[in-house]
Symmetry: D2
Subunit: 262 residues, 4 copies
């Protein structure tokens, strides 16, 4: 019997021989370097096809929208980690990405999945407003928030939302996820009794779903975008640090309270 390892490990990504490097079935140096942009390669790695020019413009706009939101918990964790391990940039970047869970970045993925589930259930349904109303009513009945709605700061409208819709329209790549999210934006006030903005994370998730990114990878795309934002913050922390001041501001205000085992 041949050893189990005689069975190869299949991959469609990078492989190398002594004189050539291949990636996604193309010669890395002859066909990709200098010819494909990094963002298009990132898209290709996940969607397994090269984006069109219009898809690329929307994909880049989404990545740009998701790159940095200032002093977020993610960024603070990365900067505080650099303070303790300045020699290991990879650790600080990893620490930042680890905050990209169900809250904050998770909204991109939750919205994509919410919209994809709705569309899958009601394939071919012409009246998106009626579908959106059903979905919002279901969430309300289940006492759950509606993914993609609401923002703690941009209460009267998230400025990213209309821009993503506009670029998708300009490039002719707007699809059913963006359309359904817009319908959710239209119909929810009558059902929920208040008007919430469609948020930037949600519209980015819808755009990525329209571009063909599987919902289970939408958060991963947001993490790639965020890795560049974290690097920007680590660069700034090296030039003009705030980590120690943040630490001191908490440590100085610490107050001991007796533990209560409940």
């Amino acid at each position: 019997m041949p050893p189990a390892d005689a069975e190869p490990y299949r991959t469609s990504l990078g492989t190398s021989s002594p004189d050539a490097i291949r990636l996604l079935g193309h010669d890395l140096t002859e066909e990709l370097m200098g010819s494909v942009s990094f963002a298009d390669l990132a898209f290709w790695l996940v969607a397994l096809r090269r984006p069109t020019a219009g898809e690329s413009r929307l994909f880049n706009a989404v990545l740009v929208a998701l790159t940095d939101h200032g002093f977020t918990p993610i960024v603070l964790a990365a900067r505080l980690t650099l303070l303790g391990a300045p020699e290991a940039v990879q650790g600080a970047m990893a620490a930042g990405l680890l905050g990209g869970g169900s809250r904050f970045l998770g909204t991109t993925e939750d919205t994509a999945a919410f919209l994809a589930d709705g569309l899958a259930r009601e394939a071919g349904r012409a009246d998106l407003d009626a579908l959106a109303a059903d979905l919002v009513r279901e969430r309300k009945a289940a006492h759950r928030t509606v993914p993609g709605l609401g923002h703690p700061l941009h209460k009267d409208g998230d400025p990213r939302t209309s821009v993503i819709h506009r670029i998708a329209e300009e490039e002719g790549v707007a699809g059913p996820h963006l359309a359904l999210l817009a319908a959710v934006g239209r119909v929810h006030p009558a059902i929920l009794g208040r008007t919430l903005p469609v948020n930037g994370a949600g519209v980015c998730g819808a755009a990525l779903a329209d571009l063909g990114i599987p919902p289970g990878l939408v958060r991963g795309v947001a993490l790639v975008a965020r890795s560049a934002g974290i690097l920007g913050h680590l660069a700034e922390e090296m030039r003009d640090p705030i980590g120690r001041r943040v630490y001191d501001s908490v440590d100085r205000n610490a107050e001991y309270v007796a533990p209560d085992p409940g």
Copy 2:
């Protein structure tokens, strides 16, 4: 005395108000989304200036070169982590990036620093071959390897090296780091007694240094590139997993040996 926190936390990156989001001094939605590519934004976040078109092409080529090298230890760590925590993509991506230390990805940064140090010491020196020879001789005398030389597989020449040089020349953005690394490639055989290829990681580090990325951030740029490669592998692992087979192939071949406290 005002509280220490009355002193603001300065940043040149993202800030938000209820109706606008700013990044690097520009309005995110009006000036950046749809207008700047993700790679250019990543460059901007680190170099604090927008790249020219020629710089952008070289920067993208470097990122593309660094994105994926197949089943590397980084990728295997990410895939094995996904096996144990499939619900936390951010953890698998972080686990992968954590292998981006002194070996493998570190070569980019080591080469950039090696070249920058050489150039700083010998500012204005016209004869790069003589400078390169001095640097190689010093490393040899110290029994240290020369950063940017050698590759376990591409022994007769790393195909990425000439492409990076060509693109840098085409775009008119080749600078002293690439020139010095080429000189190292020319002069080292006579000193070391054998001919080593200038490797892809090294030439990427030199190109990033010529583009103005500080050496201490070169590895961070490589990590951003690699985050997209890791995501591609996680997407593939979800479609066509190998993690459990890798685990089994090791576990099945485990052999107990008595501990030796030395």
Copy 3:
């Protein structure tokens, strides 16, 4: 209005003054160092009370049971990360812990939560076998596995299970979670039509729940135990490495297959 930071950050854990360090309301150097074991301190930090001697023996047994299971995906990720970043032990350890998600280590927490939910719903119910049968039937009806049952290797009985029960009995600290899990072990064959072992992770989760560890922290306790196991593997990797061989065994067997965008 005073600044928000005038409000202190409360903690019951560590605080320091120039001449004393306090932890959990005790003087670290006068009352804890040399007097409390590390495991008891770990328990105390989570349960907010010092364990009794009997609780301590069971808690230590659980930690010992969870420390290492050989060449697991967690351990391989840690060793492969050390290969790429040997200078950053913290990164290798973190990479290992990141695999401590819903699979493998998650069984401890899933079992604790499953048992706690069952007990909460049926408080005071004397007949644990009847309760266990209801719980197993519900999982079966929902096409879900029963937490704590089954093991890929120890099919005829996990040797850890009886030992945890025995120690809990010896120390008089066996409680309703262990009892309910034992009932699940008794009643499930008739319902599921096959006999599965109560696994070690499950019995450890039940024991931790009986000791008063909140279910949401059970996996965290397992991670503390595993951190020691990972360190043992990193020590072994430094002495007698396998990381590069694992990498080579996969990379050498890589086979390119054309991507299929589906």
Copy 4:
């Protein structure tokens, strides 16, 4: 030629068969669970021998000393990560450990290595004060700090230092590293012109070295201790969170400054 994988992966740690689990050459369930404490097992995994009772007491005291120092950057990174990913406790713990680099926790390892190097160079030298003076003079001449000296808060003496020495003496396990560090504490004022305390991290590193932990693993031992402290903070963050307040305190005080590309 047999496949490379025919060669087994050697380990002295955990191995399993259907009816037994072995660890360090012992039967896990028959010989270890209930019989060896978790801290002793952690020691054993690194030192490859079981500690004596006296060694165990000192080892536990060191672990207890290193477990928690309040609202450190490590703890803040962990808590901020939990805020973004409350479903992934392993990510928050990993984020915390990633700050265990060259600063803070690194002092344990730096001190152990500094003392071990000094002792190795001067094996058998009876006069430790003279050796210590040489070592301190060398660091001064090289404009480097002396590992193990100095503390930002405990300026007049770190309360942990004398306790570690006392326990080591009581248990008869004090060795040359602790003795040399004490000598450094005695002789440095005359050389440096000021009196610095021997700090807790340094004395813990010396004690671990005396116990036979290789210097390259000392930081890893500190990380195991810290994992319990981080878990305590994550438990507290779940009960009484501060993460969002820390985030708000920074974000609210953010001030945009124009980027300066230098």
